[in-house]
């Protein structure tokens, strides 16, 4: 009986989390506009989607920002995580604190603080302001992921390499980097998904010259979302899940060797 209630409870939580996902996927095949009634299955909205150039451009913008932000955040974050792992330096506590606070600070507070920065420095809102913001909010997650991976490493390996005459750069390239690779991939994927889905920060730091998908959807919500957007989100969802599962599968292969 106890087991039954446990399974029931877990099922209800999953149902709660997955029902909205299931609904937007199902409605992307619905043969009706704006209707919450089921009207038969169709691929019509997928066809509409692929001929809607403005929507595809906006999606492209989002992908460009997400890929660039994830890559940049992974680069800076990995380098930073190594520094935090290897060296003692002035201001390390402050850096630790900043990373911690950046992770838990509400997006809204972060978004307006960047807006104030950009306006103070008189930087026009657009592609660059958006990219810099996305890199910054992804950065701490990469640092934490990579640092977590390095933290368990035996530092004696590094000492041994040093005794044998390896330079810091060589140690980084030959020891630390190979160790980090699973964390780099995990950090990159996390950053990619965070960037693709961000509404709040982007809302404040983007300009009319460079619109991204979440803000486009946000602007459409009061008018009503067409199944075309459901179709687009379904495709992005499938794409992301495939990406993550593939990377997990590949990593499992390498960790065994």
């Amino acid at each position: 009986m106890n087991r039954f209630f446990k399974s029931l409870f877990i099922t209800i939580v999953y149902l709660f989390l997955y029902l909205p996902v299931a609904i937007f996927i199902i409605y992307s095949f619905n043969n009706a506009k704006f209707s919450s009634m089921w009207n038969g299955a169709t691929l019509h909205w997928y066809r509409v989607l692929f001929s809607d150039i403005p929507l595809l451009i906006v999606t492209g913008h989002s992908l460009v920002i997400a890929v660039l932000a994830a890559s940049m955040a992974t680069f800076v974050g990995a380098l930073g995580a190594c520094a935090l792992f290897r060296y003692r330096f002035f201001g390390k506590k402050l850096l630790d604190g900043l990373i911690f606070v950046l992770i838990i600070v509400p997006d809204l507070v972060f978004g307006i603080s960047l807006l104030v920065l950009y306006v103070t420095l008189k930087i026009q809102l657009g592609f660059w302001t958006l990219l810099l913001a996305h890199i910054t909010f992804c950065l701490p997650f990469v640092v934490v992921t990579v640092y977590g991976r390095l933290d368990g490493t035996d530092k004696n390996i590094l000492e041994a390499a040093k005794d044998l005459g390896a330079s810091d750069y060589l140690i980084f390239k030959r020891i630390i980097l190979p160790l980090m690779i699973p964390a780099l991939i995990a950090g990159w994927l996390l950053s990619f998904t965070l960037s693709m889905d961000d509404v709040i920060v982007s809302f404040f730091v983007s300009g009319p010259t460079y619109q991204i998908l979440p803000l486009y959807i946000y602007s459409q919500i009061h008018v009503g979302i067409t199944p075309e957007i459901n179709a687009l989100c379904t495709l992005i969802f499938v794409f992301t899940v495939t990406l993550v599962l593939a990377s997990r599968f590949l990593l499992k292969g390498t960790s065994k060797n």
């Binding site: 989390l17 190594c82 992770i103 838990i104 600070v105 104030v116 913001a133 509404v199």
Partner: protein, 284 residues
């Protein structure tokens, strides 16, 4: 070696400079901005004042603040009621199932949060799935009016923030030594006593971490009341957003934001008191 020094400087420097410029500096600018007044053609005008903070404590804003806090508090409560038993049950599952079950918690979050919130409308609207289901069951005889109420916003907030409660709780419960429970049972404690005296006290850091990760976003996710709720100024987040976008009173918006940060600082202080440096990892 010379190149080693350069490498160290470079790896330390890039992250430090990045965070100083894009995290610390903006935060300081907001604090400064909150002490100024609204300019005519600039967003800030150089008059030092604490007027913005005084205004925060006027009845109107205090009301918004309390309402926001109340709704965020309810969100935390429901997240705990759903999340704690969930994390507990999963933590006691066989080892091979745990990663899959936790993976399934994160999976829905790889889609646009806006679309998922919008889907909730389809569920709770007057002719929506929920009402049709309840009518069919015969529990209700007239459709419930959920959409555009506080209840709808609450559902949206709990939906969006539940994983942020489950993840730290699970991280905490996963390390729990279940032999403690057997020991207590052997000594004659009943189930509730075990829960109240052992399980909950040991997982307090996870609970506080979850509260921090849910409470603050719950006050600031302005798009959820925008989509699901009728009243626009339901949350503190909507108030801040309006000050920046519509009212164009940036100093006042900054002041509200600083106040939110102060609340965050206070919660962190509580968290610090209840944790050791090692266990703090669960928060992130």
């Amino acid at each position: 070696m010379m190149s080693d020094r350069i490498f160290k400087r470079f790896s330390v420097g890039v992250l430090t400079i990045w965070l100083l410029v894009f995290a610390l500096l903006p935060a300081l600018l907001v604090v400064c901005g909150s002490l100024l007044i609204q300019g005519e053609d600039n967003f800030f005008s150089w008059h030092l004042t604490i007027q913005n903070y005084v205004e925060l404590f006027s009845a109107d804003y205090l009301y918004v603040f309390l309402r926001s806090f109340y709704l965020a508090g309810l969100t935390v409560l429901f997240c705990l009621l759903l999340g704690y038993p969930f994390a507990y049950i999963v933590a006691r599952m066989p080892a091979y199932l745990k990663p899959i079950l936790m993976f399934l918690i994160i999976l829905p979050f790889w889609t646009s949060s806006l679309i998922r919130i919008y889907s909730i409308i389809v569920i709770i609207s007057a002719q929506g799935l929920l009402n049709r289901f309840l009518l069919w069951l015969g529990i209700i005889h007239q459709p419930l009016q959920l959409l555009f109420t506080q209840g709808a916003v609450l559902i949206g907030l709990v939906y969006s923030l539940l994983p942020f409660m489950i993840l730290p709780l699970y991280a905490n419960l996963e390390k729990f030594d279940w032999r403690l429970i057997d020991a207590a049972r052997d000594l004659g404690a009943n189930k509730f006593r075990v829960l109240a005296k052992i399980v909950i006290p040991i997982t307090i850091p996870g609970i506080i971490a979850g509260i921090i990760l849910v409470l603050l976003p719950a006050m600031t996710m302005f798009y959820i009341p925008d989509i699901l709720g009728g009243a626009k100024s339901l949350l503190l987040g909507n108030l801040i957003k309006n000050q920046f976008i519509e009212a164009r009173n940036w100093p006042f918006g900054s002041a509200i934001s600083v106040m939110l940060t102060v609340i965050m600082g206070f919660l962190l202080l509580v968290y610090w008191r209840f944790t050791t440096p090692r266990s703090r990892k669960d928060l992130v």
